[in-house]
């Protein structure tokens, strides 16, 4: 099928297709229609529509009281989201790049994440903090990180990371309706932006009606016998492409899209590894002290004998994300690195 419109396309089958960005916007809009306490704020979420298209069209539809452009004051407006959430609103706050967490992390992890606990469960903070993550387009060390492991490490926040339009919509609706703070991290490379290289699955079928995708449920996006690849976000697509390629060589790969880091769907991972006995973790976040180590611990704590081959990690090798194209490609989990990781774990 040829996709001519970069944002929406209705093929003859009648299945409506959207970009991930449009799916997120649709989710937010449907929730804003349903619940007057839902509102959006952040930098350039209004007339611009979100730098990565996550709020496009919302201002025109809901007005500036519910779609609020903020000054460049992340501590101030994330804290304001927390205060508003405590007092009965359901804010969706955008932190433009997750890399900017450094100027507002106190509000995120000392306040948003802890107030429910400190209050003994008496104060709820139902808000969504969404942020763009990921590299691959030479944006340098301060605009290319994923950092989901950092948020997942700190208790009190759910962390969701959609990889495709349908999941993006369902997870957004679930995040908005959740009574907890939810960090919603969208990779720029899955948004279907017209100004950035797209993967083929950045546009996909999305049901028109509102629906929730339960937070904490991974998806087995490809079944296979020979090895399990656990991954998330843009790396899901690289992995699926590699899996297709390897199928031709007789390597049958199972691919798990975690979709949520907190809660982590350990059951789905363990069931798959029990079947294949081989695990590759593909993670665009830093290698050490993160997701890949957590999954290694999950297996070691459950049954160290599950693995028939040593675990393989394809992650950013503990360096900041470099700028120059060959340097950046060297550290990111590219299809080449994923392929070589799978081949090595399978031993063929």
């Amino acid at each position: 099928m040829t996709v001519t419109d970069t944002t929406t396309n209705k093929p003859s089958s009648g299945v409506r297709r959207l970009t991930t960005a449009r799916a997120m916007v649709e989710a937010i809009a449907q929730e804003m229609e349903r619940d007057p306490s839902v509102f959006v704020m952040g930098e350039d979420v209004g007339a611009y529509g979100g730098i990565f298209g996550s709020t496009t069209g919302l201002l025109e539809r809901f007005g500036s009281e519910r779609v609020m452009d903020t000054p460049i004051s992340e501590t101030g407006f994330i804290g304001a989201g927390i205060g508003a959430a405590i007092e009965g609103m359901r804010p969706i706050v955008e932190l433009m790049f997750v890399d900017f967490f450094g100027v507002c992390m106190d509000q995120i992890y000392n306040h948003m994440a802890k107030i429910h606990y400190e209050s003994g469960g008496h104060v709820k903070v139902p808000m969504v903090l969404m942020a763009a993550v990921g590299g691959g387009y030479s944006d340098g060390a301060q605009h290319s990180q994923c950092l989901w492991g950092t948020f997942a490490h700190l208790p009190g926040m759910k962390v969701v990371v959609p990889s495709n339009p349908a999941d993006a919509k369902g997870l957004m609706i679930a995040a908005i309706r959740d009574d907890n703070p939810v960090i919603y991290l969208f990779h720029k490379g899955v948004m279907g932006l017209p100004w950035m290289a797209k993967n083929s699955r950045a546009i996909g079928p999305v049901p028109e009606e509102p629906y929730e995708l339960p937070i904490g449920k991974a998806a087995v996006v490809r079944e296979g016998r020979d090895a399990t690849v656990v991954t998330l976000s843009l790396s899901v697509h690289h992995t699926l492409d590699v899996a297709d390629e390897l199928a031709a060589q007789g390597i049958d790969v199972e691919v798990i899209d975690l979709r949520s880091l907190v809660p982590l769907d350990g059951e789905t991972v363990l069931a798959s590894v029990a079947k294949t006995g081989r695990l590759v973790v593909v993670d665009e976040d830093y290698r050490s002290f993160g997701l890949s180590g957590e999954l290694a611990a999950l297996i070691a704590e459950h049954d160290p004998g599950m693995l028939r081959a040593p675990l393989v990690r394809v992650a950013v090798p503990d360096v900041p994300i470099p700028y120059a194209r060959p340097l950046e490609r060297f550290v990111l989990p590219t299809p080449e690195r994923i392929k070589s990781g799978i081949v090595s774990v399978v031993g063929r």
Binding site: S73, T75, Q107, E118
Partner: protein, 325 residues
């Protein structure tokens, strides 16, 4: 100002001081001869508010239970003046199951949603959440007000300035109160702050600023009244600075050697006996009335402490609960 109000302000201040003296006693009861911050029936840091009662009494007299306050790490006076349940607050400070946070918060993290009271132990970081509460109140079409109380040290934090800008930009019903006790732990205002007074900073955010220089509860009451009324009428935020005094240490165990002569001056300026003498002299109170107010405060405070001590400690495994709703 009516005479009834003055008696009410005095009563509130007595109640706070009685409370802080009792917590001081309980805190140190089993921390001698060797002071161990983690030992005893009340462990951990303890920041008491003696000397700062005028701020809480004068401010909270204008607030309704549906108005929100975010307090800093030194929160007891504000909690009591705003109507936080004294028994459950005390139980929280004693780390008991019946506490406001079921023992998970402690004295710097008191939350009572019944009166929209919250705390932050991180300097200045309660200000953004107060802005958010005010944003919610405005969106909900109510005339509720949010108050952020911080110390003067917080006025040098980025989050404080971001909050003033947001509140003014969005014309939100916020009252920002700086309790200037002159000391950021051991650093005096003169060594931390570039402006003679923090209300000079209000102009930078196009909001009115008002300074109460003498820690007088009447002065706080009047200034806070103007600020709260302004916020309630939808006219936007105000910055108040109250020059108050820290009668005791930054926290208990602070030997305060850095204070020198200033400490004696502060103790000579204790606002409670000064106000009491004034009300006696003006004939608003007599000795019997003073004694009755104090007795009532002692009874209430000792009841709260008895309630805390009679409450169970949380079961250890309850530590695993309440991370998520």
């Amino acid at each position: 100002m009516g005479e009834d109000i003055k008696v009410q302000l005095y009563t509130t201040m007595v109640r706070i001081r009685t409370y802080e003296e009792a917590i001081l006693r309980e805190y140190h009861r089993d921390k001698s001869p060797v002071f161990d911050i983690g030992a005893g029936r009340i462990p951990g840091e303890m920041h008491l508010s003696a000397g700062q009662e005028p701020v809480a009494a004068g401010l909270c007299a204008h607030l309704r239970p549906d108005d929100a306050i975010t307090a800093p790490h030194r929160p007891h006076h504000l909690a009591l003046a705003h109507g936080v349940d004294m028994k459950r607050m005390t139980a929280e400070i004693f780390g008991r199951e019946s506490g406001l946070g079921r023992g998970k918060g402690g004295h710097m993290h008191l939350f009572d949603p019944a009166v929209h009271f919250g705390c932050s132990g991180i300097i200045a970081q309660g200000a953004p959440t107060a802005v958010g509460a005010a944003l919610a109140f405005k969106r909900q079409g109510s005339d509720r007000v949010a108050v952020s109380v911080v110390g003067e040290g917080a006025a040098n934090q980025g989050g404080f300035h971001e909050s003033l800008n947001l509140a003014s930009l969005w014309r939100l019903p916020v009252v920002f109160v700086i309790e200037d006790n002159g000391w950021g732990i051991s650093v005096p205002r003169s060594a931390s702050t570039s402006v003679p007074s923090n209300i000079d900073r209000a102009a930078g955010y196009a909001m009115p600023g008002e300074l109460v220089e003498d820690n007088s509860v009447d002065g706080v009451y009047e200034a806070a009244g103007r600020a709260v009324t302004r916020a309630r009428k939808g006219e936007g935020p105000t910055l108040l600075e109250i020059r108050t005094i820290r009668l005791w240490g930054h926290f208990e165990g602070d030997a305060q050697a850095y204070r020198g002569e200033e400490l004696a001056q502060a103790q000579a300026s204790d606002p409670l006996p000064i106000y009491e003498q004034r009300l006696l002299k003006d004939g608003l109170l007599d000795e019997a009335a003073v004694a009755a107010i104090k007795e009532q405060a002692v009874n209430e405070v000792e009841d709260a402490i008895a309630f805390a001590l009679s409450s169970a400690e949380p079961a250890p495994e309850e530590a695993l609960e309440d991370v998520f709703a």
